[in-house]
């Protein structure tokens, strides 16, 4: 790192002056907090008693039969309270919010997992909560919109621009710059202006620390490779961070390849993007030749984002991590495979990591009497939120049935609709 908040040429603080004071305050509060045994103990306790950490490590033998004979271990972030890794960062920042004396949090969300985690922490700590969500995403993740509202959060659909995650971030930034005095922007991934990329990474590093120990205990050595999906990059950096200094451990990040390489039809920043600035950070950005942000596409809302955390840009350029796209089709096939072979329904985001793992396992050539390679995968979230998308994708319900079911639900009084037993 060349300067504070920099990862080589990436990172920094590309923000309106009005936000600088708040970023400096946040950096100070974070630095103080992590040196304060009381804060550390409080966060540890929440992670244990509320989130349910440590999350288990599960070897998936039937799934691994499709991975070229490798042994595959899943780090089960899907089993955390609220259903994904997002809660790790949220609890840390929510405690900081209270510590800074602020009473309101705002957040952006794509898949809804970060919004749900933020709404959850806000309820737990008695904070007001507003979540910005692209209008397109509110439709494809309607269940999570309902969850956030049940938890007492206000969900604001954002119709500007492409009406997805990047526009939700713009809107959250606009709210923050207006209300910064009493409001903390609880950013949900490892991008944005310093200190967010470093701070969010550190709150997620618990994933890697636990997984490293669990793999050592289970197989007696480090894994050969660690795989994760990369949206903004928080679950990936969380698990990678424990292995960066182990050169023998290959690190693989999988981005949304969407429908393929056509511009606007994917979110593979390291295939189609170039260095630029978006949302406060210098990093790789999918942009046209005028520097306008390009539209992106992915079947998974959580990976549908035109830029990526600056530390990933650095790890890409240094060659320490290999980033590859995984298409919608590949991700959905891996999604189905994990469901059928292991009885685990993954988030579609996490299914990108699973698809990459299958590809990697098959490519790791070895002779038969060698020990099988060990692949560690971050299963960043569970797929309950994606059941509707998956059911449509696989044609498990037909369009007409869905329309009729929605109509019935809308017409029926709640008591009857919910009266089927449990």
């Amino acid at each position: 790192m060349s300067a504070p908040g920099r990862f080589g040429a990436f990172g920094g603080r590309y923000v309106p002056e009005a936000l600088v004071a708040a970023l400096e305050e946040l950096e100070g509060a974070w630095t103080d907090a992590v040196a304060d045994p009381k804060f550390v103990a409080e966060l540890d306790q929440l992670q244990r008693d509320y989130t349910g950490r440590p999350s288990p490590l599960t070897e998936v033998r039937r799934f691994a039969e499709h991975a070229g004979g490798a042994r595959v271990f899943l780090k089960r972030e899907d089993l955390n309270h609220t259903g994904s890794h997002k809660i790790n960062n949220v609890l840390g920042q929510a405690l900081l919010t209270v510590r800074m004396g602020k009473r309101r949090v705002i957040a952006e969300t794509g898949a809804g997992q970060h919004g749900v985690a933020t709404a959850t922490a806000a309820a737990l700590m008695g904070l007001d909560c507003t979540v910005y969500m692209g209008e397109v995403d509110t439709r494809r993740q309607a269940l999570n919109v309902a969850r956030m509202r049940l938890l007492g959060a206000e969900v604001v659909p954002v119709a500007t621009g492409s009406a997805t995650l990047k526009d939700a971030i713009n809107e959250a930034m606009r709210d923050w710059v207006t209300n910064v005095e009493g409001t903390h922007y609880l950013l949900g991934t490892v991008t944005g202006p310093h200190p967010f990329p470093s701070m969010v990474r550190d709150f997620h590093s618990v994933i890697g620390r636990e997984a490293r120990e669990q793999v050592l205990e289970r197989v007696g050595r480090l894994p050969d490779a660690v795989c994760a999906c990369v949206g903004g990059g928080s679950n990936a950096i969380g698990i990678f961070s424990a292995f960066l200094d182990d050169p023998a451990v290959r690190l693989h990040g999988y981005e949304a390849g969407g429908e393929g390489i056509a511009p606007g039809r994917h979110a593979s920043r390291f295939s189609g993007g170039v260095p630029g600035v978006l949302h406060g950070a210098a990093t790789y950005v999918l942009q046209d030749e005028d520097g306008q942000t390009m539209e992106t596409h992915s079947v998974s809302a959580g990976l549908d984002y035109p830029s990526v955390g600056p530390e990933h840009a650095f790890l890409h350029d240094s060659g320490r991590v290999t980033y590859e796209p995984v298409t919608d089709d590949e991700a959905m096939d891996a999604f189905a495979l994990l469901c059928r072979t292991e009885g685990i329904i993954p988030a579609i985001e996490s299914a990108h990591a699973l698809a990459g793992t299958l590809r990697l396992g098959q490519a790791m050539a070895r002779d038969a009497n060698e020990e099988p390679p060990v692949l560690l995968v971050n299963l960043s979230g569970r797929g309950d939120k994606d059941v509707d998308t998956a059911a449509r994708w696989f044609g498990l319900v037909d369009g007409q049935d869905l329309v009729e079911a929605e109509q019935l639900k809308a017409d029926e009084p709640v008591a009857e609709a919910e009266g089927s037993g449990w």
Binding site: P16, L19, I169, M173, E181, L278, H279, G291, T293
Partner: protein, 260 residues
């Protein structure tokens, strides 16, 4: 004397503040935006701030955001910015550009500075580039005789006010309130306080923006600042009346305001 120094010195001689008028290039289309900046200059704007439409304008409220989206949808290309800048200069006002950093970065800061200077531009306002991150831009601006114009905000510490005004040339953009661009019903006390704090640190002209829309508000700001910056209200006037009659009236009202 640089063109910006000249404007502020003339305004000082006339005992008034400068009117700084913002419109995005290419809104609603290139031809109308060229005509619109001419109207601004003819109707009394001293400085015209030409905005670069950008997909992710996080310092802008809905009026400017929608205008940017419309301009991009109608095919705005960055190279057309310089046509609009040239039109401002030809019409007799001083052009400055307001741009988010990524379009400039992608164009190449040095190439951007060269092309802006060649088109007659006097400076660049950067809403999401603070001096701390602006090393490359400040060097390029220096090289081509352009003024880097940064913002100060009510939340800026004294230390940051000092380093920011030291990095500014031409004038300082004083953000009147915490928030994004838009139309507000009152100027508020924070603008005056911030002007006073900034005044104690620099002799550069101080222009106040964010929220102004009427002649009365322009007059109110003119009483304590060197310039009044108006944006969203003008953008709305173009949107409501593409024949630009409404734009001309509003600009005249604002020009009268800074002369009160």
């Amino acid at each position: 004397m640089s063109p910006l120094e000249e404007v502020f010195s003339r305004c000082r001689d006339e005992g008034r503040a400068a009117l700084v008028a913002y419109l995005p290039a290419g809104y609603p289309d290139l031809a109308t935006s060229v005509a619109a900046v001419r109207v601004l200059a003819e109707a009394g704007a001293d400085i015209v701030e030409v905005g670069v439409p950008y997909t992710d304008p996080l310092m802008d409220g809905p009026v400017v955001e929608r205008a940017a989206t419309a301009a991009l949808k109608n095919g705005f290309r960055l190279s057309q910015l310089f046509d609009v800048v040239r039109a401002v200069a030809e019409a007799g006002a001083v052009p400055v550009v307001m741009a988010y950093w990524n379009p400039v970065l992608r164009y190449g800061p040095d190439r951007f500075a060269a092309d802006l200077a060649a088109a007659g531009g006097a400076g660049l306002i950067t809403p999401d580039l603070i001096p701390d991150e602006a090393g490359a831009w400040r060097a390029a601006a220096d090289e081509h005789g352009l003024a880097p114009i940064f913002l100060v905000a009510p939340s800026s510490t004294d230390e940051r006010l000092r380093t920011t005004v030291e990095a500014c040339r031409g004038f300082v953009y004083v953000a009147a309130t915490m928030g994004v661009t838009g139309v507000r019903s009152s100027v508020g006390a924070s603008a005056r306080t911030l002007v006073e704090r900034t005044r104690s640190l620099t002799d550069l002209p101080l222009c106040v923006g964010l929220g102004l829309s009427t002649g009365d508000q322009a007059a109110e700001v003119a009483a304590f600042a060197d310039g009044a910056i108006v944006g969203s209200a003008l953008v709305r006037a173009v949107g409501e009346d593409p024949t630009l009659g409404r734009l001309r009236e509003l600009t005249q009202e604002l020009a009268e305001g800074v002369r009160r």
